[in-house]
Amino acid sequence: MKILRFVLVIFLLFSLGNLNAKESNKLNEITKNLRCLICQGQSVYDSDSEFANSIKIIIDKKLDDGLSEDEIYEYFKKKYGEWILYDPALNKNTYILWLLPLLIFLFGGAIIFKKLIKK
């Protein structure tokens, strides 16, 4: 048992040593969270349409101008509406979206808890 575990640990460490580190790329991060408006359910990151390419160029410029990630999202939201953001912000339109699953979780927990303490 112990030998097996040891071998496994070594194996994992070695195999991971070969992998490349990901260069943190802000452009990719941002484009993954934007919808390509002319495509069918693709993000800007995934798409190579003209729309997506022009968005990528705009983001590149904005990043060079020193805008933060949030400022860039805000810019696109103003220009194209909320539809472009894949990560909807918490506001009066999206309370249900964000909170209902959590409420369901609490509700389920309450039911199980009740079952458990009932003697």
């Binding site: 990901k22 359910g41 693709q42 995934d46 339109n93 079952k115």
Partner: protein, 624 residues
């Protein structure tokens, strides 16, 4: 021509048989204690006629009979035979005919294979199944007849969407449908068993096999779709939280919950109401999936038929089925087990309840995330998008306790138990956390959450791995599936964290070089095939260790219909995938090149296969 006639009338005959089966069932139900042979032979005949109809549609595609509207819309004479055949179910009408085929197949198998159950139960299951079957016959004949005529007869068809011309996608729908539609038989038999009040441990053993069949096919069907998306949609991802993917994930989550819940019912005769609700939910979600995809209200890469009339029909049909099942649930189901069963904190029952709790939460996240944008659009005409960040934020934190429960839960005994091997459990936890930290310490992105996540997945990995070597441990199928799941989560995490990517623009002859990778764009070739023309770009890519690979991604221009696609070139090895895809940039003479190294890609597929293998083992196991 002749095939269309045969196909269409086979459907009509199938419908008539379906209606007559109601009559025979009614007669048999009241008068006899053995199953009428007429019922069996009529069910077989119905299946037979649907097969005929399906074969007719296939033949129409094979001979390119363009007097048939479905063939005209989805085929072309220049297509290879294989894709002519797979085109049969690559469209709305054909895929519904496939639904019907699987529906009739399952009810036939159910009647033949079910032994040791009351005849009334079998007949009633047949009746409920026939309600669904007749509904689909009507849907097919009234709104989406696959055998419509066109006159004058066109000389050439419109062709099949090129992204559907692919071997994985040719078998993806039939496998997925076996899972989807397989849940119909669970639905029907649950309603029958509820009406007859025979839900018991004995019934649970019998229905578990059907749940497993459905679950195995659904798992494999989703896997095939995911593999296809990975290499065909051309951007290297394998799961996009696309509405249509979500729609296949929801029945899977419900079915997995049901599978765990039935384990309790098998032993204890408790949680009966919950089993009924889950069975109804699974099938309803499958139907909802069909509705959402067919009605075209989803914005998705997969949508290939938009017709509000069809959507309305499915919606009404769905409401009838839900209404019927609620009616049966409230009128017939009485929880007879009033003796108030006691759950203890440390017991298998409780751990399965907790599994159900988390699964239901995951299901609600996917359901709300998929449906809410449509809902908001309808009531306030505001459009929002719900994408991967939403699902990740709501799911990943909950995955951590879920994984740990998956490791510990199966070790508990029924009724009341003590945790054995505490030293093992704790030492494995410490090892997992240390290991996760060691792996991640050089990568400074989100180190905290990733360390916790990876250590919980590693924990499940080690615990299940150890259990393979412990002799007294009996439940091998469960262990395989849980081990597969830990491997899946680990592969996905490593795949995400350690992936690297280069995006650049290159002309022929140019070279891209950074500290780790050198990409040389060697040359461009052209290729002519029957159904497309292609530009093939040849790259040689070398890494630090001096390993060199030759890649030839393609740009294809399909002739029918004229659509350009990018074909990625992927080199798969045990530890990582290298993935390259090119795109033409308009009015420029360079290509947009995207090169990705994706570690553990193969392991994602293998672990899903392992998970379903756990299901297969459980299916084959004889009950001791």
């Amino acid at each position: 021509m002749i095939y269309s006639v045969f196909g269409y009338y086979s459907l009509i005959i199938g419908l008539i048989i379906g209606l007559s089966l109601f009559y025979f069932s009614y007669k048999n139900f009241n008068n006899s204690s053995i199953l009428d042979t007429k019922i069996l032979s009529f069910t077989f005949l119905q299946f037979f006629f649907v097969v005929i109809s399906f074969l007719c549609l296939i033949f129409s595609f094979v001979v390119s009979d363009f007097s048939n509207e479905t063939v005209f819309n989805n085929s072309h004479t220049t297509k290879p035979l294989f894709y002519k055949i797979s085109g049969t179910w690559g469209n709305h009408e054909g895929s519904l005919l496939l639904w019907l085929l699987v529906l009739t197949l399952f009810v036939l198998l159910f009647l033949v294979r079910t032994k040791n159950q009351p005849v009334k139960y079998k007949i009633l299951t047949l009746v409920f199944q026939q309600i669904i079957i007749v509904g689909f016959f009507l849907f097919l004949i009234l709104t989406s007849n696959p055998f419509n005529y066109i006159f004058p007869i066109p000389t050439e068809g419109l062709g099949l969407n090129p992204i559907l011309q692919d071997p994985a996608l040719a078998i993806h729908p039939p496998i997925l449908y076996l899972g989807y539609v397989g849940s119909s038989i669970i639905f029907s038999s649950v309603l029958a068993a509820t009406s007859l009040k025979i839900i018991s441990t004995n019934w649970a053993v019998h229905i578990k096999k059907w749940i497993l069949i459905s679950w195995i096919f659904l798992t494999l069907g989703i896997l095939l779709g995911s593999i296809w998306a990975y290499y065909e949609l051309g951007w290297g991802g394998f799961w996009f939280w696309d509405p249509v993917e979500n729609v296949s994930l929801m029945p899977w989550l419900a079915l997995t919950t049901l599978l765990h819940c039935i384990l309790v019912l098998e032993k204890k005769s408790i949680l009966t109401s919950w089993v009924i609700i889950l069975s109804i939910a699974t099938f309803t979600l499958s139907m909802c999936g069909t509705f959402l995809v067919r009605s075209g209200i989803l914005n998705s890469v997969h949508t290939f038929a938009n017709d509000p009339e069809r959507g309305l029909f499915i919606l009404i049909f769905l409401f009838i089925l839900i209404f019927l099942s609620i009616l049966i649930f409230f009128f017939f189901h009485k929880d007879n087990y009033r003796k108030s069963y006691n759950f203890f904190w440390l017991s298998k029952e409780t751990s399965i309840l907790i599994n159900n709790w988390f699964m239901m939460y995951f299901l609600s996240v996917v359901l709300i995330g998929t449906v809410y944008p449509i809902f908001l659009d309808v009531i306030s005409s505001q459009k929002i998008s719900v994408g991967p960040p939403f699902y990740h934020k709501l799911m990943i934190p909950f995955l951590i306790p879920f994984l740990i429960m998956m490791a510990i839960g199966p070790k508990l005994k029924w009724i009341k138990s003590q945790l054995e091997d505490k030293i093992y459990l704790i030492s494995f936890l410490i090892i997992s956390i240390l290991l996760a930290y060691l792996i991640l310490k050089n990568f400074n992105q989100n180190i905290l959450i990733n360390t916790i996540l990876i250590s919980s997945a590693l924990y499940l990995f080690f615990i299940t791995l150890r259990d393979f070597f412990v002799k007294k441990y009996k439940n091998i199928s469960q262990n395989i599936a849980h081990f597969g799941f830990s491997l899946l989560i680990l592969s996905i995490l490593f795949n995400n964290i350690f992936a690297s990517e280069i995006i650049t623009n290159l002309k022929v002859g140019e070279t891209f070089e950074n500290s780790k990778t050198k990409i040389v764009f060697e040359s461009v070739d052209q290729k002519k095939e029957k159904n497309y023309n292609a530009i093939i770009a040849n790259f040689s890519i070398s890494n630090l260790n001096g390993e060199e690979d030759i890649f030839s991604p393609e740009l294809r221009i399909y002739n029918q219909p004229v659509i350009a696609t990018s074909e990625a070139d992927i080199k798969t090895t045990l530890m990582s995938d290298k993935f390259i895809v090119i795109n033409l940039v308009q009015n420029q003479d360079f290509f947009n090149v995207r090169y990705q190294v994706k570690p553990f890609m193969l392991w994602i597929w293998l672990s899903v296969i392992l998970i379903s293998f756990g299901g297969i083992v459980s299916f084959l196991q004889k009950r001791s």
